[in-house]
Amino acid sequence: MKAEIRVAGFGGQGVITFGYVLAQAASIHDEKYALMTQSYGPEARGGACRSDVIISDVSIDYPKLSKLNCFIAMSIDAYNQFKKMVKPGTVVILEEDLVHVPENELLEDVTYYNIPSVREAETLGNRLAANMVMLGAAQAVTKAVSEESLIESIKQRFSRYTELNIKALRRGIELGKQAMGEE
């Protein structure tokens, strides 16, 4: 099994944390092979921001994405910038309120899910947890990593707001399952 996941948005949305929590869960807690890369640089200042995660049962050689399995877009800028990487078979998860893709621009043979992560996070008490909602949804959709490991990874990563983030993650998993029609 190999999963390639890109999450992208703008600075401040917790995109890097998303990638880190996911990859750490797979690597340290699921004992899989995993790596995470992110975009850096002045050009990214305030603009697009992204994190790529590769998870695999066997060791990962080439560290860059080669076949994207799942793309999580948390801003319209990010979606537009990276949609060229979306290939038939890729699953795309969009932040429902921030990213609207007109029907006629949807890519062929690509599954789209819309997750209202910001709204859900606000309901839970803090919109900053939207990234964890999206992460939950991504978990549900890709199964690249186990829920327990993600929770462990969150505990390791956060010294504060751990509970909130776990709640957000769980809510995201539910939403993901719903979206997939699993529930």
Partner: protein, 273 residues
């Protein structure tokens, strides 16, 4: 960019490169604005200006001005500008660069250019840190500040830039802030027309780096500049910047001396006598 941008300084800026890369609220935009506004108000011949920068957030300023411009290496803007200034005396080099660029790695060139009285204007954005590389402390960071490389508080003493540059021999030395934008602009106008080495330190908020580390919003930082800076005339050595104390801004030095280009010309006359 679909919006049609119609800006009164469009002849002075590389409009095709806007928006610039700086963070929301970063003072560098205001410094750049003051500079082009000064050029605009002076109706300065843009063909006779070269804007030179080193590397850093501030160093990006040269890329937005519609003059000849050179984005050089880190810390070396002044010797590049010296080469320009001495080769073509019709040109006024204007260096816009950061406190780290000019006083960490580039400190030596600064004191030597001041000593030689090279005809140029140096606008130093002092945001009290290395913004570009992620807000590490530098030679202007106040004591005890926490930054990524001083997580337990900065243990170094900052320079008093005004005093250092004065000691080295600059003919015009001023300090302003981006909040004091009209004085800043006027100071730049003075520097642009002065024949000699002019230095303007501009206190400027680094909103995402220094600001976030200090848990200050851009507006907090601007208010701070408004409230703690006072215009006074003191000896340069007294113009230290210390946390919690009033910061003195204004003009510190304004003298006349022959520039390097002047004496080079004298030299030519002397050598052929």
């Amino acid at each position: 960019m679909t919006e049609q941008i119609d800006y009164y300084l469009e002849d002075y800026l590389r409009m095709d490169r806007l928006p610039h890369i700086w963070c929301a609220g970063c003072g560098l935009g205001i410094i750049l604005k003051s500079y082009v506004q000064a050029l605009y108000e002076l109706e300065y011949d843009l063909d006779k200006i070269v804007t030179v920068s080193g590397i850093g957030c501030a160093g990006r300023a040269s890329g937005y001005v519609n003059t000849d411009a050179f984005h050089t290496t880190h810390g070396r803007a002044l010797p590049f500008a010296t080469g320009i200034s001495t080769s073509n005396t019709d040109i006024k080099p204007v260096v816009i660069s950061g406190d780290g660029d000019l006083f960490a790695i580039g400190g030596n060139h600064l004191i030597h250019a001041a000593r030689r009285n090279i005809n140029m204007l140096v606008i130093c954005s002092n945001n009290f840190n290395y913004g570009m590389t992620g807000a590490q402390y530098g030679p202007t960071t106040p004591r005890d500040m926490r930054t990524p490389t001083s997580p337990y508080g900065n243990i170094e003493n900052p320079f008093n830039l005004v005093s250092l540059v004065s000691s080295a021999g600059a003919t015009m030395v001023s300090r302003w802030t981006v909040f004091h934008v009209n004085q800043l602009k006027n100071s730049i106008k003075k520097g642009l027309t002065k024949n000699g080495f002019s230095f303007i330190e501009v206190l400027s908020p680094c909103t995402t780096g220094y600001g976030r580390l200090n848990k200050m919003s851009p507006i907090d930082m601007m208010r701070d500049l408004r409230d703690t800076c006072k215009i006074r005339k003191v000896h340069p050595t007294e113009a230290t910047i210390e946390p919690g104390k009033e910061v003195i801004i204004g003009d510190f030095v304004d003298i006349e001396k022959p520039t390097y280009a002047d004496v080079l010309d004298q030299l030519t006359r002397r050598s052929t006598e």
